[in-house]
């Protein structure tokens, strides 16, 4: 069963005039795939990602995550899907500055309540260790460098063992060295843990190293080129 499948997704922006930003998008992401979505600015790749992430519900067509149809779900049910099945990494870190690094990583886990608070904390420490930033656990989120913040965000995305990790330009705001670190983490997750990843990027070097590149142009998916 595919992790994520769309059929005939159309999306319009209505302001100031009606513009079709996504045109009949059919997309399937299978378990264990490391997929990148590329394309020029304004081609609709971020828009597509936000629809796939369930945060944007204003579209035509169907989206299935883990075989479940997203249409008709309430806001709270969609929040639950995001919490349980999707891990996010954004272009700008998006950590909560009010909390420590550890607490930032723990929050989605505490919300899910699959484990007790102690277990969530233990698992959060494991994720931080895995990414080599466990020594930062008790620092405030705003004391970290950009690369460190992005690694914390990845640890947070991993806390609930999500079905899929989605990234919106996760390396877009990082220098070369930190970009490489982040890419290595993604590749490691993909290879060692068979983690499914769907990353929107305009970094061609990044995209070339993924299993599959989905190239978008003017709201449409171009014929696929498979990488080895």
């Amino acid at each position: 069963m595919p992790v994520l499948q769309t059929s005939h997704i159309n999306k319009y922006f209505k302001d100031p005039v009606l513009v079709k930003v996504l045109d009949n998008v059919n997309l399937t992401v299978n378990r264990g795939e490391f997929v990148s979505v590329t394309g020029k600015s304004g081609c609709g790749k971020s828009t597509l990602l936000y629809i796939l992430s369930t945060m944007d519900t204003d579209y035509e067509g169907d989206l299935q995550i883990d075989g479940e149809l997203m249409r008709g779900k309430t806001e709270a049910e969609l929040a639950r899907v995001r919490n349980e099945k999707i891990g996010f990494v954004f272009q700008f870190h998006y950590l909560l500055n009010e909390f420590t690094v550890l607490k930032n990583v723990m929050l989605p886990g505490l919300k899910l309540q699959r484990y007790t608070a102690q277990e969530v904390e233990h698992r959060a420490m494991e994720r931080l260790k895995q990414l080599g930033i466990d020594q930062l656990a008790l620092k405030a989120a705003n004391q970290l460098s950009g690369g460190e913040k992005q690694r914390v965000a990845i640890a947070r995305a991993l806390i609930n063992d999500p079905l899929i990790i989605m990234g919106d330009e996760p390396t877009g705001n990082l220098d070369k060295r930190n970009s490489d670190v982040v890419f290595d983490i993604f590749r490691q997750l993909s290879e060692e843990l068979k983690q499914t990843l769907l990353i929107v990027t305009h970094d061609q070097a990044f995209a070339r190293n993924t299993h599959r590149i989905i190239h978008m142009q003017d709201g449409r998916i171009e014929p696929e080129a498979v990488n080895d």
Partner: protein, 419 residues
């Protein structure tokens, strides 16, 4: 959803903007403190002013009133039935001013479970003799123990021991105004003349001051038996029976019932003192309105601060939603913030309000009209504290409701893409 996590997040957001939070809470604290102090003081005054009259007034008073016979000849004539009668030929007759069969009535009253206590009285008009002039006045023959128990008689005695009235025969307690006119002091003997022209010496054993100066210029008190002696009447002669009930509200019903059974006039406290309740009500109303206005102002403060906080925390709200917190979780977080401001500010306000009340309670307030009062009166009724804390929670809830709803509807896509 575990409430602990929501509380935890709310707390962290609060502490991150501690100064704003404190300012918002101080607004609530100030209003609640003022509310408590104002209501405590106002109601203290109300109690005092009401007590001035109500404490000394019987709930039901039984007496014989001088009035014309209701059965006039014209009204008994069948052919004038149902018409307006202009002619009243039989005038008022003062056959007896005392209560007939008073012993049996007192016994019946004492057996009535609704009655808290009774105090019989004999009222008699007298003249106080001061040298060559006579001062008109009224002497009330009272049971001093019952009067003290039921009507706080002891509170109004400025000098002397009221029990002497019972223990010393032919004794009198003078009103302050009367005593001043007669130049009488405790231990002096004054002369009084009854309406029948008899003169009697009475020993002054006390001076009372009721707070109503006109009353103190004419009234004095002696024991029931002394006044009966003054009037040369038997010891069953009583002109009034003052009744205190367990339930003040039942006074009109009880009064009607007694008037029918005993064939006497019965006046209830509500009829006699209707204006006092109105005065108290208006004063309470004013204090509530002022208190609530203060709270509404504080509520707007909280509303502003929460709105500002939500604009500042757009990123936080977006990320919470992106990682799986629902709109209702976000709403609970911001309502939690509003309510904790209300609760903390409110509780501190109660404490400060209590402090202010204690302070007011210790400010000296001496007035000759109120002999037993030395400081400003304050009412510490728990009710006002409960109302205060409930109001603070309700206002902060309302002030938090709209910002929280706005926060719950933040679209994370707009925020995240907007960067």
């Amino acid at each position: 959803m575990k409430p602990g996590l929501i509380t935890d997040i709310a707390k962290s957001l609060l502490l991150a903007r501690l100064r704003q939070t404190v300012v918002a809470a101080i607004g609530v604290t100030f209003s609640i403190a003022m509310f408590i102090a104002l209501l405590g003081f106002m109601n203290g005054l109300n109690d005092l002013l009401d007590g001035l009259v109500l404490n000394r007034t019987a709930h039901v008073r039984l007496f014989n009133e001088v009035k014309p016979n209701p059965d006039q000849p014209i009204s008994l004539t069948p052919e004038f039935q149902g018409q307006h009668h202009f002619i009243h030929s039989i005038k008022s007759s003062g056959l007896r001013l005392d209560i007939a069969n008073s012993g049996a009535i007192l016994e019946a009253l004492q057996r009535d479970p609704r009655v808290k206590g009774i105090a019989p009285r004999v009222n008699a008009p007298i003249l106080y003799n001061s040298g060559t002039i006579d001062i008109t006045g009224v002497v009330g023959g009272i049971d001093v123990v019952a009067e003290s128990d039921l009507f706080f008689f002891r509170d109004y005695i400025r000098a002397g021991d009221p029990l002497d009235l019972k223990n010393i025969s032919n004794s009198i307690i003078l009103g302050k105004g009367v005593a001043d006119k007669l130049l009488a002091e405790i231990g002096d003997v004054i002369q009084v003349t009854t309406s029948r022209g008899e003169q009697l010496p009475l020993k002054v054993v006390g001076i009372f001051q009721s707070g109503l100066a006109d009353f103190d210029k004419v009234q004095s008190y002696a024991s029931v038996s002394t006044v009966q002696k003054l009037l040369a009447k038997p010891n069953t002669y009583l002109t009034d029976v003052q009744i205190k009930l367990h339930q003040l509200d039942s006074a009109p019903t009880v009064a009607r019932e007694y008037a029918r059974i005993f064939e006497l006039d019965a006046e209830d406290i509500q009829t006699a003192n209707a204006q006092f309740e109105t005065g108290s009500f208006i004063r309470s109303l004013i204090s509530y309105v002022v208190g609530i206005v203060l709270l509404i102002v504080a509520g707007f403060g909280i509303y502003n601060i929460l709105n500002m906080m939500i604009y500042e925390k757009m990123d936080t709200i977006a990320i919470l939603k992106a990682t799986g917190f629902s709109g209702s979780d976000v709403r609970k977080i911001f309502l939690g913030i509003a309510l904790s401001i209300g609760l903390a500010g409110g509780l501190l306000g109660l404490a400060i309000g209590f402090g202010l009340s204690v302070l007011i309670d210790h400010v000296p307030f001496v007035t000759p009209a109120l002999p037993t009062i030395t400081t400003y009166p304050v009412n510490y009724d728990l009710k006002y504290y409960l109302i205060g804390i409930s109001f603070s929670l309700i206002t902060t809830y309302l002030a938090g409701f709209f910002p929280a709803r706005k926060a719950s509807m933040v679209d994370p896509v707009v925020i995240i893409r907007g960067k």
